[in-house]
């Protein structure tokens, strides 16, 4: 059985390699697709989403059905993946030159790779900030997918990371919402005495640690240094703020979680459930998770959020909030670029944007006016207001930098959690990965 699994995997890798080899193996300039052309409303439009599973999967299914009803000659083929599986799927499709017409993307280095490789259509003529469609989006979300004055991405929803807390747990433990990182750590003792796991945390996939680390890096490392360190060409990774942040994270894991150094063995969804079921008092989560967190024992009225508090004497930017919009790119090599643009205009119409922002989806749309106090849950509305207010967003650590460095941070985060490496050693390993990636 093992041998069959590996043979299949090897064959897939080999076939992906072979297919690319057949294409000549040289960089291919993307054809200059006219995104503003009149679409031909016929054929099959393929879309790769990150909305697999509940509660998000029906969103694109409903959109596809409604679009096909408007344009009966158009068939929409959906490939729905999860947050974890979409990464592998996209890379496999990229390697075999088989990207769908429309595909999901994060911002940062993730989107840059597709833009640099000529795989993302230039949409400036249709979604630039001065265009009719572009004006419907928040300017910051459009800018997140812009490179050298050109606009490539269609931002679908905004996102930010906040500490969600149970008001009842805080009340029972007589704890106030912490204003500093030190107060947050100090609150863990009383919360534990009150019968709660202070902070639910599961790091089996590695990235939950990166989310804490990126927010703490933003607080502890000066912005300009942090920005330079994301690119291997300019990275030095010598700022003492990194070690400080890594140690702060270790303190949080050891003092505020029940599993402590063993949290690498806990699924993030188990932590999410512990919070939703009232066993944990806090859980560091994305806006996208808010409505899910209040679908169990924890009720919306009992759910509050606050930005991860800033540590004392931090040398970075205390106003920087971790988060970024997520969106879609259009395959530059697609013969249906104009049709793909039309579908995404439909997907981001105010009506559909409002549906996306409301429960059960709870994905705060980047379309202006789509997230209101009436159609979104209180927490989602509050969260997106804070994201919009933040002067600068810190993009996820696993997508903002090159994959080798992101992977070194991921392993380092796991090592910090388990106690397998000191903060200095972790930083050294990341520096080595960054040097190798130059």
């Amino acid at each position: 059985m093992r041998s069959r699994a590996l043979s299949t995997f090897a064959a897939l890798l080999g076939t992906a390699l072979a297919l690319t080899a057949c294409s000549g193996g040289q960089p291919q300039a993307a054809p200059a697709a006219d995104a503003a052309a009149t679409p031909d409303f016929s054929g099959t439009l393929s879309i790769l989403t990150k909305f697999a599973g509940d509660p998000t999967a029906p969103y694109f299914e409903n959109l596809a059905a409604a679009y096909s009803k408007q344009h009966p000659q158009v068939k929409v083929e959906l490939i729905q993946e999860t947050d974890q599986s979409v990464k592998d799927k996209l890379k496999t499709l990229t390697a075999s030159d088989a990207l769908p017409d429309i595909y999901f993307t994060w911002t940062g280095n993730w989107a840059d790779n597709y833009i640099r490789g000529g795989r993302a259509a230039d949409l400036t003529k249709v979604i630039g900030p001065d265009t009719e469609w572009g004006k419907t989006f928040s300017p910051g979300s459009l800018a997140a997918f812009a490179r050298d004055g050109k606009y490539y991405g269609i931002p679908l929803y905004g996102n930010g990371k906040f500490m969600g807390y149970s008001k009842a747990a805080f009340e029972k433990a007589s704890v106030q919402v912490p204003k500093t990182f030190e107060e947050l750590i100090a609150s863990c003792g009383p919360l534990r005495k009150a019968g709660y796991e202070p902070i639910a945390f599961g790091n089996k996939d590695g990235w939950p640690a990166l989310h804490y680390l990126q927010q703490l890096f933003a607080y502890n490392v000066p912005s300009a240094t942090l920005e330079a360190d994301f690119a291997p060409e300019t990275a030095k990774l010598t700022d003492p703020g990194y070690v400080t942040a890594l140690n702060q994270f270790k303190t949080l894991v050891d003092q505020c979680t029940d599993t402590k150094s063993g949290t690498n063995g806990v699924l993030y969804s188990s932590a999410q459930e512990a919070f939703a079921n009232g066993k944990a008092a806090m859980y560091f989560q994305e806006i996208l998770e808010f409505d899910n967190a209040t679908s169990g024992t924890l009720k919306p009225a009992d759910f509050g959020i606050f930005q991860l508090p800033v540590p004392a004497n931090a040398a970075g930017d205390p106003a920087m909030l971790e988060g970024s919009p997520e969106g879609y790119l259009i395959n530059a090599k697609s013969p249906r670029v104009a049709l793909a643009v039309d579908f995404m205009k439909f997907a981001t119409s105010l009506e559909n944007a409002k549906t996306l922002s409301a429960p059960p989806y709870g994905q705060p749309s980047t379309v202006v006016g789509a997230v209101t106090a009436d159609n979104s849950s209180k927490a989602v509305y509050e969260g997106i207001q804070l994201v919009n207010k933040a002067p600068k967003l810190a993009i996820w650590l696993d997508t903002v930098t090159v994959p080798e460095v992101a992977d070194a941070w991921l392993s380092g985060g796991e090592a910090i959690v388990s106690g397998g490496m000191t903060a200095d050693k972790v930083l050294e390993s990341v520096r080595q990965a960054s040097d190798a990636a130059k």
Partner: protein
Amino acid sequence: MRATLLRRTLGLAWVVPALVLVGVFVYLPLVQNLQFSTLKWDIYSGSQEYVGLDNYVKLADDPIFWSSLGNNVLYAVVSIVFQVFGALLLAALIESVRSQRWQRVLRAVYFVPCAISLTVAGLLFYFIYEPNLGPLNHALAAVGLPELAQAWLGQESTAMPAIIAMSQWQGFGYSTLLFAVAIQRIPREIYGAAAIDGVGPVGRFVHVTLPLVREMTGIMIILTISGAFQVFNEVMVMTAGGPNNSTQVLGTWLYRSGFVRNNFGYAAAIATVLFVITLGIAIAQLWASRRRRVEW
């Protein structure tokens, strides 16, 4: 003469489709993998730069490659102990049970785990090992050993042994069944003669069973080593190589290098090394299976 030539040509025509399929889907990717291991390949732009043996040099300096190889070797050693010698011992015990019905029941009991797919078994054991909700830690606490409870898959020191333990549970029954079949082939008269000569059960196992299942033991050792170098599913499901790369094996490090780190040329170099290792084992297997059989 012409008829023979025609027959031969027709015969060849029958095997050509199979040869083409095997050539395109097995041997061509192998050759191309070798070619890609000499490239630095950017999957986004499609650019490919020839770097010669750089990926192999990098591989020799990569501590994670060596720790992955070490994990494969550890996997092989433990598997030989449990899935070969342990299974042989268990098979001998089962076959010594007098009741035929109980023999069949025991064989079935031990065989059931290997009927479960590795992915499902991996998930099952992930939940067994889960530090907060998993039954293993609860069982340890219930028998008065709470200090032994830990995050089995969450710590560098215990993650790999925990995965290997699951794999032994899963593969043990298959080996046991094969050994049971091998033992059944041994004529009962030999055991009878040994018993008449006053040889006890242990002596019969050492002097009769062991020599007469030597051929099966050799094949099982080679199959087990080969399997240990192709481990992938269980590690991906249970830890994906973490924490801190402590459970990486060659298969998962290959995957991570290509699909996570975007370094497909380097992944191809790992694949080549893995291929050479498994090819060596396959050749050893062929050699072992050609050795003269024990006849009786």
